[in-house]
């Protein structure tokens, strides 16, 4: 029988895989040692576990284990990468290039950099959510030290041409940092093939625990360094002090291992479900996919249902289906999604969007239920929508002078 509520917000976080929890449990109870305790078996066990996890994590992204710096999550890794490069390479320059559709952890860190005297270029994206490579190259200056562009977008799932981006960066001697939070574990990411110098990612988006993530820092060609943002005992090769979260790291490692083993079969199954969901919902009139459908994560779909408001729509089923919306009402800022607006969507379409994030535990039964529930709610709300009525009467909504409020 179908169990409710259904979870389709896997871009926000994923449930933990029971196999991950199983791997972690001993490190809470019996093997509780501090990985930095060098002189007794408790410490040795912990250190060994961390080393093993570091290998598992590194393997998933084609890195050397020494290039993995464990952090508390992707936000910390974003901060460490951007602030760390800005400080470390201050003698080389102070200019950073990023994009308007980045996660707040990158955008707000860049704002901080500006306050510190740095210069940041925020590139616009194309309607498909991808960067214009010519515009990127044109933005590079002699003072540019870093290009910070996400691997895949959290709201629309669009996947950036990272290889092409890093080729341009190499040509100009600029470092590439990518926030790959949504991509790692879902699609093949290889730091060498992709030419990535620094990369942030986190366990809880790939069926691992919350509170642990990593920053990949390239050690060869070129050797990259970041200034530590957390001072203390000099853990993680001096780049991130703080006692290691051993159970979390063990879980992160296990989660990476499982993703590597099961990525292909997961992707095949999940993308089929995503496509079923998407094509069924697009049968509704005036429904549009946001962002690239060609370069996109296999488990994500972002759809706008014209003339219904996102939060009102969610309310029709959010007891039973967990989803998020680009509507202003669902965010604290009362502004609709800045990512959707950056694609050139009008506020009205941004307000009308739903983000679907499928995952390893999504079933076809859940998708069938979701298709039905959402279609019914969209139709019900359109019957209630003055905009839908006007649209049906052939009235051009742009011709109306709305009282802006």
């Amino acid at each position: 029988m179908l169990k409710l509520p259904i979870y389709l917000d896997n871009n926000a976080t994923t449930p933990m895989d029971p196999r991950v929890l199983e791997a972690m449990t001993p490190y809470f109870l019996n093997h509780f040692g501090n990985a930095a305790s060098r002189n007794h078996p408790f410490g040795w066990e912990a250190e060994e576990a961390v080393d093993y996890a570091r290998e598992q994590v590194a393997k998933l992204i084609g890195a050397d284990p020494k290039e993995i710096i464990f952090t508390s999550g992707a936000t910390e890794a974003d901060n460490l990468a951007i602030k760390g490069v800005f400080e470390m390479y201050a003698s080389k320059g102070n200019h950073i290039i990023t994009a308007t559709t980045e996660h707040k952890a990158v955008l707000d860190t860049c704002k901080h950099i500006e306050k510190q005297g740095g210069e940041v270029t925020y590139l616009n994206v194309q309607p498909d959510g991808l960067i214009d490579l010519k515009a990127l190259e044109a933005a590079i200056k002699p003072s540019t030290v870093l290009i910070a562009l996400m691997y895949a977008n959290n709201e629309i799932g669009s996947v950036m041409p990272i290889k092409e981006i890093s080729a341009i960066a190499r040509k100009h001697g600029v470092l590439v940092f990518t926030d790959a939070t949504q991509a790692v574990g879902k699609i093949p990411v290889d730091v060498n093939k992709d030419g990535i110098d620094l990369m942030a990612f986190t366990a809880h988006k790939m069926y691992g625990p919350k509170g642990v993530g990593a920053l990949y820092v390239r050690r060869k060609n070129p050797r990259v360094k970041v200034t530590a943002q957390m001072d203390g005992g000099g853990h993680e090769r001096g780049m991130r002090s703080g006692t290691l979260n051993v159970p979390g790291i063990v879980g992160f490692g296990k989660a990476c291992e499982l993703c590597q083993l099961e990525m292909e079969s997961d992707t095949q199954r999940i993308s089929k479900l995503r496509d079923k969901l998407e094509s069924s919902l697009l049968k509704l009139e005036e429904a549009y996919v946001n962002g690239s459908t060609e370069h996109r994560l296999p488990h994500v779909s972002n759809i706008s249902f014209k003339h219904v408001e996102g939060e009102g729509l969610l309310m029709g089923f959010n007891k039973n289906i967990a989803l998020s919306s680009g509507s202003a009402c669902t965010s604290a800022s009362l502004e609709p999604s800045y990512v959707l607006k950056a694609l050139g969507l009008g506020d009205d379409l941004a307000h009308s969007s739903l983000r679907f994030g499928l995952g390893r535990f999504t079933t076809e039964e859940q998708i069938d239920y979701t298709i039905k529930a959402i279609s019914e709610t969209v139709n019900k709300l359109r019957d209630m929508s003055p905009l839908w009525e006007m649209y049906k009467e052939g009235i051009d909504l742009n011709s109306i002078e709305w009282a802006a409020h």
Binding site: E309, G346, M384, A403, A404
Partner: protein, 139 residues
Amino acid sequence: MAYSEKVIDHYQNPKNVGTLDKASKNVGTGLVGAPECGDVMRLQIQVDDATGMITDAKFKTFGCGSAIASSSLATEWLKGKSVDEALKIDNMTIVEELNLPPVKIHCSVLAEDAIKAAINDYREKNGMDKIKFEESVVH
């Protein structure tokens, strides 16, 4: 954010959804809000010329649950009131009735604006001067 039970009830069973003939002389239509702001309300009243009583009220709303509930409630309150009484409906009574949180107060303001706009539309159609209202502050 959790909705109050009353908001949920209006959302699930909205009262008086529909359309009155906006060309009719005794129908007043108020259309307020803007699509880019995420809410648009259309509220209509039908007035008995002889008695000045509102005999019917309908709404259609594009917006969140609180906006739908505010307009649904407004139509309920309008029916059976005189136009003059209807003018006294204050957004804060809607807020209280629906237990709207502070971030949703604008939904109630919109409903109040829609009532006023509908009444003015009716007045204009029937040769009366429009009433000048103070600008709502909570926008």
